[in-house]
Every structure is written in structure tokens, then in C-alpha cells.
């Protein structure tokens, strides 16, 4: 992984988020406050906007820079969470000279841990973590099993979608929807949807190589 492929992925993520505007926006309107899509969009635009700067950096530094940029761009609940994710990924990768799928899996896991810490949340609370935690777990397992990048990408897409679907029948105990009690049941979580969309778009890049 290098900063070139990172920019490539950022562009793909941005396109995917814009494409899912209606879904993402609608979900945060249903049980949130309706700004999640616009927050994601603002974040994506900012990252695509610093592509030239990122090019000059190592993958680790680029990810850290992305985290810092998101921190000062998104705001809301998702801002510090995604920022923590990328900053932690960057920090983890910094320790490695050679970055293979295995190191990426480790860094991804560190990112997810950072989100859990920042948001004081676990799996099962109807948040983005219900996509990210199972994806991270599967990612690590498949890397252990020496699966190919394409096999991993295919599998993670399935896990991400299952994680998203799992939020439907959860009570929300974190985030804005936690004020709703039973009324949150039956709705997917908006942040989980964004994560599923982003993971799908990155996996699709891998699959199309």
C-alpha cells in the first residue's frame, strides 16, 4: 500500500458515498438528525481535495493526515470516530517497513479499537461498530488463513452487509438514536450504512484489479 493507492481508494469511496446519498441521508433522518450524509460528503471532498499533499507522504503518514483532516472537517459524532480510526491506522503502520495485507489488517483492527475507545461503545449498540467489528475480526482471520486479497475482499463485503443488517433490530444505546428507545428498532444505523458502503467500494477496487 502507498499513498497513490490511498488516493485511488479515497476517490472510489467518495463516489460510492455520493451514489448512496438517498440511503444514508434517509437513515439519519429516520432515527438521527439528518446530517450524516452531508457530513460524510464533506469529509470525502476534503480528502479528495488534499490528494496532491497526500501523494508526497508515506502510507502511514497519509492515513494520519487523513485522520487529522477528517477531524477538522466532519464534526458530529462520526468526525472524531473516523478521525480516530485513520490516525490510529497510520500510527500502527508507521511501525512497519513493509506493508502487506497482514499489516493492513492489523492497522484496521487498531483503527476499530480506537473508535471503540473514543465512542465508549461495543458491538450491538446500533452503530458503525456493528459493521466494523465483524469486518475486522474476519479480516484478521482470513489473513491468518493466508487467503488471497480477492478472497478476503469478497468475504468482507458479505460480512459488512450482514453487520449492517444486524443493526436493524437493535435498540440504540449509543449516539443520537439512543434517545428513541424502542422506536429505533426496525431502522438501520446510518453510520453502519456508510461503513458498509465504504468497505464495499474498497473491496470492489481490490476485486477489479
Amino acid at each position: 500500500m502507498n499513498s497513490d493507492t490511498i488516493n485511488h481508494k479515497a476517490a472510489a469511496i467518495r463516489a460510492a458515498i455520493l451514489q448512496h446519498e438517498a440511503d444514508i441521508e434517509g437513515l439519519d433522518r429516520e432515527i438521527g438528525d439528518g446530517d450524516h450524509y452531508i457530513n460524510m460528503k464533506r469529509g470525502c471532498e476534503a480528502i479528495v481535495g488534499i490528494a496532491p499533499e497526500l501523494e508526497a507522504l508515506s502510507a502511514a503518514d497519509a492515513l494520519n493526515k487523513i485522520g487529522m483532516k477528517l477531524l477538522s472537517t466532519i464534526g458530529g459524532a462520526s468526525g472524531p470516530l473516523f478521525a480516530s480510526f485513520f490516525m490510529s491506522m497510520g500510527k500502527t503502520l508507521k511501525a512497519f517497513d513493509n506493508i502487506t495485507t497482514k499489516e493492513i489488517a492489523l492497522a484496521f483492527d487498531a483503527g476499530v479499537q480506537a473508535i471503540m475507545q473514543r465512542g465508549k461503545a461495543q458491538a450491538g449498540e446500533k452503530t458503525m461498530l456493528d459493521v466494523l467489528i465483524p469486518v475486522s475480526t474476519t479480516f484478521k482471520q482470513l489473513v491468518e488463513q493466508d487467503k488471497s486479497a480477492k478472497e478476503i475482499a469478497s468475504a468482507l463485503k458479505v460480512v459488512a452487509s450482514e453487520g449492517l443488517d444486524s443493526t436493524r433490530n437493535m435498540l440504540a444505546t449509543k449516539g443520537r438514536a439512543s434517545g428513541l428507545g424502542e422506536r429505533a428498532i426496525g431502522h438501520l444505523d446510518a453510520g453502519a450504512k456508510s461503513c458498509q458502503v465504504m468497505i464495499h467500494s474498497v473491496c470492489d477496487l481490490v476485486l477489479s484489479n
Binding site: 477531524l71 466532519i74 472524531p80 443520537r176
Partner: protein
């Protein structure tokens, strides 16, 4: 959606620029990052900084000025501000006695202010407001939301800071007021987030959202629309229940704040006030202070919130002290 608007992306900057011009005697607005500070930087006092998503005007920028906030950090509409805003604001207004953040208890606000606090080099503390009794506090939730009680906390803590009190004392007063304050909101219509372009929720002519927050999040319950007295009586009951649950006294002097959420005429707010005041008096409270109007809004929502703060001499003194901001002004 019909709004006085040029381009959704520029709305905040244009509106804040207008705010800056209209109140040039009082405040200054900075961009990149965005924050609002007093024109006359205060000296030798705890710097009181608040912030949150925009769309709640006059909160918070409208409360920057003598006797209240030193700075406010406005985020995008309904989106908490980012830590760089808080850091820049703190840098601009700190006055050697530390920085107190007043933060409404929402995941986004909490995390962004937390990250700012972690990066801050000055002595600092944070008061979280969580007066909304529509949301039951439990270990299984993010906890109660901060709503209109925030205005009372900002006013009184701002007043105390003006006396030269230290950070600890300011934080203690803020937490005391937050504990003694209960709020509940009811919405007749949804608001429309400009970037979304359509109402956040659908609601029919015969329904209300009870226990709604200030972001168009759905409330605790969808209920049948009823006459005002029935709605107000439920709201007062929720507040009394909360006071009881907190084991605070069901008598004594109170401040009653009836707050419009953006599109509710003053005539209706006073009508709500009338019934609420009667019910509280019947219960044994004394209506010692009142505030009726749009003080913390949810863009263009038709609806109102009711806040009761149990007063004591200290709170009363700081509520009454002079304040000169765009949104609250007396004694100056």
C-alpha cells in the same frame, strides 16, 4: 424547502457574517476555523467557551458577551464543531485562569470537545448539560441530552466567571445548575435541515412528537394532538417526575423558561407559560424568574420546550447579574 438562502454550503458563513456586522460593537467572528469571541477580550477570568451544531440560534454565538460566554464555536447545521475550532477559540480568549467548556451532552459534541480538551495546553474543565428529561438516563444510553437548560448554565456560569472565580468553582456551579434543571420539548412539526432540503420527519395534522430534542430527532413518543392544556400538563408532569427522581424538593423558587423551537408564535408560548405557571404554583412552587421566547431553537420547527430550574440564592444572583449579548441583555 423554502428558505432565505443562496447556497447551502455558504449559508453558515453568510449568516455569521451578518451576525458579525449587526453586533460589531459586541463580538467578532473568525473563520477557518470558525469561532465567535467578545470584542473586548476579558482579563483575569476563567474563559467560558461553548459551541455545538448551528441551527439553534441565538445559542451559542448569541450568548457571547459580557456576563456570559467568552467564545462560541458554531458547527455546521446540527453537527458539532470540530476540535480545531475549540482550540483556536481557547487560544484567543484564555486569560490565565483556565478554560471551561460548556458542552451539551450529545455523542458528537462530547467527543469533539473531548479531543480538543486532550490537545489543549491550558488548564481546563468541562461541564456537560443534560437537562432533557425525555431521555431516561441509564447506563445503557449515552444519557440525557442537553437542551434549553444550557442557556441557564451559560448565563450563570458566565456571571460567576466574571467575578474572578476559579475554574473549579465555575465547573461546580455549572454542574449544580444542570442537576437542578429539567426540560422537555414537544414538536408540532419537523424542522428542515437546509442541506437535506426536506423535513426530517413526517407528522400529520393530528399528531405531536412528545419529548423531542433540538435536532429534529424523533421524540420519545408520537402522540395524538390535544388541546394545549393537556400537552402542557403532560410536560409539567414529566418535569415534576424528574425533580422527584433526582430527590430534589418539589417546592421553592423556580425559573420557568418556555422556549420556542423556531416557528412558534410568542402568543402560543405565553399561553403555554400561563398554564405551566398555574400548575407549578398549585404544586407549591414560586415563579421567581421567567423567560419566554426563542432562546434555543431547532431551525424552523413549530414546537416548544419547557424548562424548570430550581433556584437558590446563588443561582438567582447569577441569573440577575448584568449580561450584554446579542441574545440576552439586561442590567447594561
Amino acid at each position: 424547502m423554502k428558505k432565505f438562502l443562496n447556497n447551502v454550503d455558504h449559508m453558515l458563513v453568510e449568516s455569521l457574517s451578518g451576525f458579525a456586522t449587526a453586533h460589531a460593537d459586541l463580538i467578532e467572528v473568525q473563520f477557518e476555523p470558525t469561532f465567535v469571541i467578545r470584542k473586548q477580550k476579558a482579563k483575569n477570568k476563567v474563559a467560558i467557551i461553548s459551541g455545538g451544531g448551528s441551527g439553534h440560534e441565538p445559542l451559542h454565538a448569541g450568548y457571547v458577551g459580557k456576563g456570559m460566554l467568552d467564545a462560541a464555536c458554531p458547527g455546521q447545521v446540527f453537527t458539532s464543531p470540530t476540535p480545531d475550532q475549540m482550540l483556536a477559540a481557547a487560544e484567543a480568549v484564555h486569560a490565565d485562569k483556565g478554560v471551561l467548556f460548556i458542552v451539551k451532552n450529545y455523542a458528537g459534541d462530547v467527543m469533539n470537545f473531548e479531543m480538543a480538551a486532550e490537545m489543549l495546553s491550558f488548564e481546563h474543565a468541562t461541564v456537560y448539560t443534560s437537562d432533557d428529561c425525555a431521555v431516561v438516563n441509564s447506563t445503557y444510553t449515552t444519557g440525557r441530552r442537553g437542551v434549553a437548560g444550557t442557556v441557564i448554565v451559560e448565563k450563570c456560569v458566565g456571571s460567576l466567571a466574571e467575578t474572578g472565580a476559579d475554574l473549579e468553582a465555575c465547573k461546580t456551579l455549572g454542574e449544580k445548575i444542570n442537576l437542578r434543571t429539567s426540560s422537555i420539548g414537544a414538536a408540532l412539526t419537523s424542522c428542515t435541515v437546509p442541506a437535506a432540503g426536506r423535513p426530517t420527519f413526517d407528522i400529520s395534522e393530528s399528531e405531536i412528537e412528545m419529548g423531542v430534542g433540538i435536532h429534529g430527532e424523533p421524540g420519545r413518543r408520537r402522540e395524538k394532538m390535544r388541546e394545549a392544556d393537556a400537552i402542557v400538563s403532560d410536560m409539567v408532569a414529566a418535569i415534576l417526575h424528574d425533580i422527584e427522581a433526582k430527590q430534589l424538593p418539589l417546592n421553592g423558587e423556580v425559573l420557568l423558561l418556555v422556549n420556542g423551537l423556531g416557528a412558534t408564535p410568542l402568543m402560543e408560548l405565553y399561553l403555554i407559560y400561563n398554564t405551566a405557571a398555574k400548575l407549578l404554583k398549585e404544586k407549591g412552587f414560586t415563579l421567581a424568574r421567567s423567560l419566554v421566547g426563542n432562546y434555543i431553537t431547532a431551525i424552523d420547527m413549530a414546537g416548544a420546550s419547557m424548562t424548570v430550574c430550581l433556584l437558590d440564592e446563588e443561582i438567582k444572583q447569577h441569573w440577575d447579574s448584568p449580561v450584554h449579548t446579542a441574545g440576552l441583555r439586561w442590567g447594561v
